[in-house]
């Protein structure tokens, strides 16, 4: 995930629209509390890294269609994802009480990273977990 790069240069804008960035959305997103999905199981490897085992989330109509055609529903199957050291650490900090902002601050402090870099790392990781249905976000 690039913060900035010369590959993404855009032509110079004479006047930038300041309303393009929405600070309220960002503040609201950082205040949300990530919650682990109850159906996710975690296995610890010898290296200390985690493997998350989670059920495949599929749309109910597709699930019914597959069952009608005699196929085993995919929702009974499980998938695995292996987290690296940093992912394992962030996963461990998701306790249903800490907000995204708290996790970002802790991650930045622990690894001595600039605030923006820590924020981007953690939010990208949480977004990936959310897309797979491993976590949900609760409003405070």
């Amino acid at each position: 995930m690039a913060l900035f790069s010369s590959d993404s240069l855009r032509p110079m804008k004479p006047i930038v629209d300041p309303s393009a960035s929405d600070p309220e959305k960002r503040v609201a997103a950082l205040a949300c509390i990530p919650m682990k999905h109850a159906g996710v199981a975690a296995e610890t490897l010898e290296s200390g890294e985690l493997v998350l085992i989670y059920p495949i989330v599929m749309r109910p109509w597709l699930d019914r269609l597959l069952r009608r055609f005699g196929r085993d529903a995919l929702s009974d199957q499980k998938r695995k994802i292996q987290l690296d050291t940093l992912g394992t650490q962030v996963w461990g900090w998701i306790d249903g009480e800490r907000s995204v902002g708290d996790i970002v601050a802790r991650f930045g402090e622990f690894h001595k990273l600039p605030q923006r870099e820590a924020e981007l790392s953690v939010t990208t990781f949480l977004r990936m977990l959310g897309k797979r249905g491993l976590i949900g976000l609760r409003e405070p």
């Binding site: 995930m1 690039a2 913060l3 900035f4 790069s5 010369s6 590959d7 240069l9 855009r10 110079m12 804008k13 004479p14 006047i15 930038v16 629209d17 300041p18 309303s19 393009a20 960035s21 929405d22 600070p23 960002r26 503040v27 690296d84 050291t85 940093l86 690894h111 001595k112 990273l113 600039p114 605030q115 923006r116 870099e117 981007l120 790392s121 990208t124």
Partner: protein
């Protein structure tokens, strides 16, 4: 170069230097543009470019207005900037402008430097125009060309002194890795930063990591301990033996990677090319390149 006030930070990028409130983050960056934001709200933006021909501020403003209207944005109109703002910019030709929107107004300055013939466009967005007390201090620190033989770099927690005249060739700021490349005549300069170092070195030994990143043989690398930091050095030369007076035509590559545990980062400096002064240039870069986060 260090700011004296902890609530203020400095940004130096591609020849532009500015001190600003420490709460500001760089929101957008390009070789000729930098924008800061405070809590995701754009506060200040600078565009710069060399100006060709005689400088005429009215013509420049007209051109900006034309471009803005084409994009459906409000055109700027000339405006007299406060004396406190322009007092510190006496070496430059300064023209103020203002634009009005239905929801918010903004203002800006055209700053032309007769010495380096660079034209900078400063746009001051509403969050800052509503709290203008920091603007005079901010403008007092503005500098659009290096004063000495070196160009400072200070951005995203890394700082260095680059040789004047080095042109930015590529840059990439990724989470965990920064990669910046400059070119100066026949010399290529590369600065790298990886973080968090503890997590990287937990997976791979430092030497293997450097071999993978730079595609260099382990045989040419030497590991030393300097001031509590692990330092890996490498020097390579192309071709066979040459007489001393022809040595400067030989292609050389210098590499140094420092593991700085207090900042939990790995800093890499790479200089390659031909010509005299490659070694001292490399040493000077290595001396000044640091993290300050």
């Amino acid at each position: 170069m260090c700011p004296t006030d902890a609530t203020w930070a400095e940004t130096a990028w591609n020849g532009i230097f500015l001190r600003h409130p420490a709460s500001w983050n760089v929101a957008r960056i390009a070789p000729d543009q930098i924008q800061w934001s405070d809590d995701a709200l754009a506060t200040l933006e600078i565009h710069w470019a060399p100006h060709r021909g005689a400088y005429d501020e009215a013509r420049v403003l007209r051109r900006i207005g034309k471009r803005a209207r084409r994009k459906g944005l409000p055109a700027p109109t000339p405006w007299q900037a406060p004396q406190t703002w322009t007092a510190s910019l006496s070496a430059y030709r300064v023209t103020g402008f203002i634009w009005r929107r239905s929801e918010a107004d903004g203002c800006g300055l055209l700053i032309y430097c007769p010495q380096c013939r660079r034209l900078s466009l400063l746009q001051i967005h509403p969050p800052l125009t509503q709290h203008p007390e920091s603007i005079p201090r901010l403008l007092a620190s503005f500098n659009d060309h290096p004063s000495g033989a070196e160009t400072p770099l200070a951005l995203f927690g890394v700082r260095a002194q680059l040789p004047a005249g080095a042109n930015l060739h590529r840059f990439r700021f990724e989470t965990g890795r920064y990669r910046l490349l400059w070119r100066k005549a026949r010399i290529r300069i590369g600065l790298h930063r990886w973080a968090p170092a503890a997590a990287i070195l937990d997976q791979t030994p430092l030497l293997s990591f450097i071999q993978n990143q730079f595609s260099v043989p382990a045989a040419g690398l030497t590991v030393t301990e300097r001031g509590g930091e692990q330092v890996v050095d490498g020097i390579w030369s192309a071709g066979g033996p040459l007489p001393i007076r022809w040595q400067r035509f030989r292609f050389q590559r210098y590499l140094r990677v420092r593991h700085t545990p207090p900042h939990n980062s790995l800093l890499g400096i790479e200089v390659s090319g031909r010509g005299r002064g490659l070694g001292p240039l490399f040493e000077r870069l290595a001396e000044t390149y640091e993290t300050y986060c």
